[in-house]
């Protein structure tokens, strides 16, 4: 365990590398999880739009 927050940041001199890794990996993982939900919603909206266009076309003829 780290005795102080400062030591936690410094990581015994390897802080740069550890935080470089976690700084890049963690946001990526979080983004990935969020993207899953957003992609589904966006696809449903897209399908709804094409649906509407198709329905108008069938009504028009």
């Amino acid at each position: 365990m780290f005795d102080s927050f400062q030591a936690f940041l410094d990581m015994g001199g390897h802080g740069l590398y550890v935080w470089l890794v976690y700084g890049s990996a963690v946001p990526l993982l979080v983004l990935n999880l969020m993207k899953l939900r957003r992609a589904r919603r966006q696809l449903l909206r897209e399908l709804k739009a094409t649906q509407a266009v198709l329905d108008d076309a069938t009504h028009a003829t």
Partner: protein, 249 residues
């Protein structure tokens, strides 16, 4: 027989769509929780390594992504076999959607490996057993991705990628062995499920949590991508039209 029926049902995307709803939710939640716990445990609470000090904490991201990157390629190889031999539509969707995910995992594994190498071996990149075979796997992923883009017709592109994935999967052990044989710099695998862990339990436990967490993330990605792909491909069918008509769930 249960398995036979499951196998037969896998053929119809609609059944998979309905069945996979709860699974995806489960995987997403599990991934979120496990990764959160695992990373915090690894970064803050795991004891420092007597040799490498705190830089070994990078392992908690590097090892899971590296292992997952290889597993994803095996999954792609298996999907290739399922597509070419049994013509399963789901397998084609797996091949189409999961290559970018595998590519990202391999790239992340390489990046974290390089950053970890800096403090421990003194250089950003060294061509040794593990890093080189992961790099080659990155090229294999690029090959799959480029082949998919190059072939216009989706069905032909699917089958071509399936064949390439199978050929790649056969070659991975050969490449891995020849690269390991060529170099002896890299220390033995730090994480073997078979024999006892090479490090104390309180270091090894968060790693296990992270590995399971990242596999759950893979599960969540896989099912989410498959469900989206099913909707996209079956949009002309009645059940999809009804589903789309319903207010956004």
């Amino acid at each position: 027989m249960r398995l036979k029926e499951f196998w037969h049902r896998l053929g119809s995307p609609r059944w998979f769509y309905q069945m996979s709803g709860p699974w995806q939710l489960g995987f997403t939640v599990a991934a979120g929780v496990l990764l959160l716990v695992g990373i915090i445990w690894g970064v803050a609470f795991a004891p420092p390594d007597y040799q490498q000090g705190n830089s070994f904490r990078i392992m908690y991201v590097h090892v899971p992504t590296a292992i997952l990157a290889q597993s994803v390629y095996m999954v792609l190889g298996a999907a290739g076999v399922l597509l070419l031999v049994w013509r399963m539509k789901l397998a084609d969707m797996v091949l189409q959607t999961m290559v970018p995910f595998g590519l990202a995992m391999t790239a992340l594994a390489l990046f974290t490996g390089a950053v970890w190498g800096r403090p421990t071996w003194g250089t950003w990149w060294v061509f040794d057993g593990r890093t080189t075979s992961t790099l080659v796997m990155l090229f294999l992923y690029f090959g799959l991705y480029a082949l998919r883009q190059a072939i216009p017709r989706p069905e032909a592109a699917g089958r071509a990628c399936a064949l390439l994935a199978i050929v790649g999967t056969i070659n991975i052990p050969i490449i891995k062995y020849s690269v390991e044989w060529w170099t002896t710099l890299h220390q033995g695998a730090t994480f073997k499920l078979t024999e006892a862990p090479a490090m104390p339990i309180e270091m090894w436990a968060p790693l296990l949590v992270n590995v399971i967490g990242i596999y759950c993330l893979f599960g969540a990605n896989l099912i989410a991508n498959l469900r989206n792909e099913i909707l996209r491909r079956e949009q002309a069918t009645k059940w999809v039209r009804e589903l789309v008509a319903r207010p956004l769930t």
